[in-house]
Symmetry: C2
């Protein structure tokens, strides 16, 4: 299992219609892409971080993650919505750690 | 539900005994603190991030999260292990986003 997360801040004014539209569209478009499991739209609340929102999703393996990255709906979303509307972001990807 | 996450890099050499010990001790000590749910020890794998590891845990509400932060076992762990052994870290906390 690979958990792909991205924490981000939008260019839009807080609580604006544009903000709501971006978040709802992202969830609708990205969660529908083949291989995406446990998609979550999140609000970042730590005062120690400046980011506003997060998405989290899981993939069965690297092949499924790569297919998502290359999927036309993902590529179009990044080009048409992410790049123009996101101010700053950071990607963090996890796999479970095997401890003795 | 509040999901508390921290992504971090250790001062220890990769795959060292000290690294393994820190990760195993952290999991054992932190996951046993009252109110901690779904504790996960994770390896960070995105080449776009410099961090090596992550912990994720969930709390029922802010009261439970505050109690964890103030718990003597957490305070002692931060003082005796986290501060001396962690090179860099970032905290990201999430709550589910309610979308229409």
């Amino acid at each position: 299992m690979i958990r792909h997360t991205v924490v981000f801040t939008l260019k839009h004014q807080q609580h604006s219609l544009e903000e709501k539209r971006f978040l709802a569209d992202a969830r609708r478009i990205l969660s529908a892409i083949k291989g995406v499991r446990h998609f979550e739209a999140l609000r970042q609340i730590s005062p120690k971080s400046d980011y506003q929102f997060g998405f989290s999703m899981e993939f069965a393996d690297q092949r499924a993650y790569t297919a998502y990255n290359e999927h036309p709906d993902h590529v179009a979303f990044v080009r048409d919505r992410w790049v123009p509307e996101v101010e700053a972001f950071q990607e963090i990807d996890y796999v479970p750690l095997v401890l003795p």
